[in-house]
Amino acid sequence: MTIATAGPSSPRQLAWARRRRSAARFSRQLLSDRAGVAGLAVLVFFVVVALAAPLLVSASELSATAGRGNPDLAPPSAEFPLGTDEIGRSVLAQLIWGARISLFIGVVATLVAVVIGSTVGVTAGFVGGRTERLLMAVDDWFLVIPFLPLAIVLAAVLGSSATTLAVVIGVTSWAGSGRLLRAQVLSVKERLFIERSRALGASGWHIVTRHVLPHTAPLILANAILTVPGAILAESTLAFLGFGDRLQPSWGKMLEGALSSGALTVGAWWYYWPPGLCIVAVVLAFTVVGRALERILDPRLVDRPMSR
């Protein structure tokens, strides 16, 4: 092999060079998408706030006694930039910690959903036969059963700590990804390189991990990012209905507090506007970034306004 000395031509080096090139192309395309960049900026802002929450506000501000001595439902002031809630706690402090809880649950729920959805989808698509029919029947069930009532009964029985809520949301929202992944695997499976690999004696495991998964990975990523907004909305809904910890409030939990404390009738706008605006901003940002990714990964999708 005299050519090998002429340049980076070991298979590994070639593969890395190719990955670097496509990563560079990918980030260039993402950065040229204006909506995508705006969404990304919003996401970075909220992620930084969520990670830095302990540095910005002490966790003790959330305790039930933190508001003792403060005025209840007081409008914004120098001391409380976003006013206080019905027990005198700072709304801004809750908003900052709420970012942490809402994003944590959204992301963990998405991971659970994507792992279940990909496993089911890839297995069904690749194995086929009776396994596929069984898995798709389960998938169908989860698609048809209304999401919120199912999540409610699960959370009512299993408990409603942040982690449990995340798992409940993940378990109830994987069905769409499962279906999507199966379709993708079915089309990848027919490609020539799979047949070649099989002819060379590759095992099913080898084909799935080395050929099928790399070919579906971009779709899994875009799908995951589009699952997060749904998961964040689901968390806010469950929190609003009473699940979750009042002393570790997410944005949805804050809105429950605003409704049940009568903040709406006394016009305490500083209590019910900020959490809602934060939810809308994060959900829109994830949707916009997910769509930008989809457009880059699959140019045929340009016409699709959004996937639900």
Partner: protein, 323 residues
Amino acid sequence: MNARYLARRFVSAFGMLAFVLVFNFFLFRIVDSDPLAKYRGRVLTAERRQEIIEKFGLDGSKWTQFVRYVRQTLRLDFGYSTDSGRRVWAVITEALPNTLWLVGLSTVITVALGLWIGAKAGWRRGSRFDKTSTGASMVLYAMPEFWLGMLLLVFFGARTGWFPVGGVRDLTRDLSGFAAVVDRLHHLFLPALTLVLAYLGSYSLIMRSSILETVREDYLTVARAKGLRDDEVMRRHAVPNALLPSVSLIAIGFGFVVGGAITTETVFSYPGLGLATSDAIKNNDLAMLQALFFLSSTALIVANLAADLLYGYLDPRIRRADG
């Protein structure tokens, strides 16, 4: 429609329903090992304890309980609320009409309006109408529907007093006839508006992409070549074909409305199944939640079955093939 298609749809619907039954029992009687947790810590005589266990159907082996549970559920007997001790079915029949009015009315309006907006936006892709409606749909989609409801309540209820902030009718006055109907609609307006705005986007976006897929079809070129006017091509050829895929999606969308009704009724203290659900969550009333889950799942399974049958009826490709 051929018999095999029909049979498959029915078998699948019954399978799903059976699985809901099993799942419900499994979740509430096996995963949840102590359904009477709320009685724990109270001093009860042995007799009273036995009485409670029998009232909630927790005596006998798990298998006996399961058989009894299935039999009772099929007779729409959901036992007693673990919170109030009332019959679950009585609570549900009281709340059901209110929810049916709310969900029914808002679904009809949302579907009609959503499909119209979607068709118009898709047909004039890139126009100002398209950009505005697609943008608005995305913002409304990103809003939790209960927050939207809270804002509507503040602006059109609490602040201006144009609409009542809760309930289903004015309890202070004894109205009858036409005045009573107007009063009901007055109370229904804000919750219905919330649901319409919250779910308009999903229908219009479905219809929009559905229209976009038909735009390049040959039969539209043919229709244009025949010399039909543009709006005739849209109304007579594009829309009917684009409606097809929307049929099954409408059934799925209905599932979101069922969920949306839960939070919306909570915001407006509208005494339907949704408010019953959030009350049951707050009181940890598991018997009630179990029944509500069973009913909403059944409603969705039936809606999907209906959509499948309608789809099969409307689409000759499915009517003839064995789908």
